[in-house]
Symmetry: C2
Subunit: 447 residues, 2 copies
């Protein structure tokens, strides 16, 4: 039995390790186009923030370990170019010499991940214009910061990678301007919560330029000029962080069906439209637990979990995944920002009779020293009474609190039942009525 | 309509406020034996820790506000001695003069709370022997610490009040010894987790003397001697923190049925065996969401919630409470300790085919600076596959993480489903696989 995996990142290596562990006799072949496997991609902004740390610190397990200790046939520098489903083969070329290779599979996993979106505009190919997705990207940014005198950076995009990188670059005393075409920072949030994030960025000297579409990046005297219609920004380095795109072209060319956002369509067992071919990780879609519809939310936990599930299915232990709740958390300087489930706009688009409230609560009990403000936004469905999602912002007590919402969404809990849950209370950690419960109680009144 | 409430603490004042808000024409009468209403009882250890803060800081709303702004007939210093269910009256005496009073009710709420257990042993009535439950207790301790030179304290009991007070007294540079008859600190925890708490206490200079039953407290030269069979401990102050007892005698004398631990038995609407009489707060029992059986777990959130539900029921909006999951969190110096649901011993006693695992995980991602160890213990039922409970200990990321378990317990979720939940991930806040998910995955293997 030959199990071939295209892509040696989170989903691919999770699948490879688990398959080999449960079926040591299985031939597990991983074809990875870069030299890097198994690293903490999400840790890159924090590593970049610290000039003294090596990017290699983020490597969780080296290729050698997978090869020698785990017995996985891991090939790095192997670029797969074609999947031949008729003959069950994958073929491509190796490294710079472009020597051809060809592997036969019984079961195939496509775990090709995603790549940063780079607009087709002048100047986005200049050397100081960077993106951040792979470890190689991270190394490139770090090397650039070391070799060049970077005093000013422009970040195009205001998503969570952009925000984490704004913090990282400010830590290195680099001036940061952020620019995006849309008018709103974090448009999926209510303005009240986004305003808290905006104030935090301003307090840390980050310039925000929402409502300005970048037209070009031009080389200037000693650096670059980021050109918008009605504004120019000067920078020694430009980070493009406007989102990622699933690497689904290989699958599409092989006639495999795609789902939302051109991600590879998979069922709950991670099978594509070809029953011998699985897909997992940032290249594959998922079911949203709130809507029951297909969605594409590329996140690390799902990639790892999907890799495991593919391994189980390949090894004959049927495994189905529930779906994703769209839970995400990120840190912006001293703020924690978290969400799970649908925003009110997403809920309306999905056909719910959505209603939401936004409340302010405290991170610690009445009269407990050091209490800070936590903002909570919570969304419910009038018809079914169901909880649909929540968002939170605050300097403490946000990151893990959101998990209560995630679990409630998996359970398809009503707001009324959620409002009755026995959440933890002690004065250093929150008020008697947890901010989420206060929000749920307020939402109930409106429902 | 006359709604009479015995007890002006969390449950009583929550009920009074909510009833008056929804039915302003209703006569709401609260009879409180002390002078204090509406204060953060759980905040007392943290207040005691700081000599410069006033105990009054913990008062959330003064009696005057309830009387004048909210229109509640709040009587303090009123000790209820008899409930006459036949004639629907409560009667008792006022203050030191013991003037008699008598009120007629249409609906009655018994919210008499609990009181610290004080063993009937020699010396427990000495002036420097204190307990902590009411605000008056807190004031007494604070005054004692101010008036006397307290260099050494002995705490009898090692529950969470005892532990919080150990920290508070150490903050005031008072030497602390803790003593209890049983052999184990936090016996509901596996030894591995309790060991972490024990090490934290030792690191902060708290002497632990488990396995020593106190026989007496004797006045010594300038202080007290706490006498055990085979050990004596010297102290300037002795705190008795061996648990609380529900104040259910008044109800029992009136022929109202009691439940577990002599708490007043109530149904999901908080009705006692007399349909005109409700009970809520530390004096009343509850249904455990995991076992479906009656239990008595006196905690602040439940008291507030039950007060609200009584008000709704009295006002004609039927309200049922789900029950409690036994969620609790407390801080012990730099550690967070949390639990929800059943321990393995409790699960076995309740008839489950219980199985548990204990794991170690990290509070931050691989290679993220400052990561600390989080210990997780998780309990499931082999027969139904259900999650039954979890416990966690760690220096960060514990207090709010437990809420995910609490919600799962309310949803009667299986371990398999819980293991699939989309919990939040970002490097500063945890590993890709949340410690709870890692624990659930390990537990699944064992189930």
């Amino acid at each position: 039995m030959k199990f071939v995996i295209i892509g040696g990142d989170a989903a691919g290596m999770s699948a490879a390790s688990r398959a080999k562990r449960s079926r040591p006799e299985m031939e597990v072949i991983v074809l990875e186009q870069t030299e890097d496997v198994s690293y903490s991609a999400c840790g890159m902004p924090y590593n970049i923030a610290d000039a003294d740390r090596e990017m290699e610190d983020l490597v969780v397990r080296r290729a050698d370990v997978f090869r020698q200790k785990q017995g996985i046939d891991l090939f790095t520098g192997y670029v797969v170019e074609t999947i031949d489903r008729q003959n069950r083969t994958v073929s491509g070329t190796i490294g710079h010499n472009r020597e051809p290779f060809r592997f036969v599979y019984d079961q195939l996993l496509i775990a090709t991940g995603g790549r940063p979106i780079l607009p087709d505009l002048p100047g986005f190919d200049l050397p100081g214009v960077v993106a951040l997705k792979s470890l190689a990207d991270g190394k490139r940014i770090k090397a650039y910061l070391k070799a060049q005198t970077v005093q000013k950076a422009v970040i195009i995009g205001m998503g969570y990678i952009g925000l984490e990188m704004a913090e990282a670059l400010r830590e290195r005393h680099i001036a940061v301007d952020m620019v995006k075409p849309g008018p709103d920072l974090l448009p999926w949030m209510p303005r009240e919560l986004a305003g808290v994030v905006q104030a935090e960025l301003a307090a840390h000297g980050v310039g925000l330029h929402a409502g300005h579409a970048v037209k070009a990046i031009e080389p200037a005297d000693s650096a670059y000029t980021v050109v918008c219609e009605d504004k120019t920004l000067s920078a020694d380095m430009v980070l493009v962080a406007i989102g990622i795109h699933p690497n689904s072209e290989l699958a599409e060319a092989a006639g495999i069906e795609l789902g939302p956002a051109h991600a590879i369509a998979v069922d709950r067992r991670l099978r594509t439209s070809d029953p011998s071919v699985f897909a997992a990780g940032d290249c594959a879609d998922a079911v949203h637990v709130v809507t029951g519809e297909k969605t594409w939310i590329p996140l690390a936990l799902r990639a790892n979990r999907a890799g495991w599930a593919v391994a189980d299915n390949v090894c004959g232990t049927p495994a189905e995944l529930d779906g994703v709740a769209g839970t995400a958390v990120f840190k912006v300087f001293d703020l924690e920002v978290a969400r799970s489930g649908l925003s009110i706009a997403e809920a309306e688009r999905a056909g719910f009779d959505a209603v939401a409230v936004t409340i302010k609560s405290r991170s610690r009990a009445h009269a407990h020293p050091g209490a800070r403000t936590i903002h909570v936004h919570i969304v419910g469905d009038r018809r079914s009474g169901r909880l649909l999602g929540a968002q939170m912002v605050g300097p403490e007590g946000v990151a893990h609190r959101i998990n209560a919402v995630a679990v409630a969404l998996h359970a398809k809990m009503t707001v009324a039942t959620f409002a009755q849950t026995d959440l933890a209370y002690a004065p250093p950690f929150g008020p008697v009525w947890d901010p989420l419960l206060t929000a749920a109680n307020q939402l109930l009144k409106k429902m």
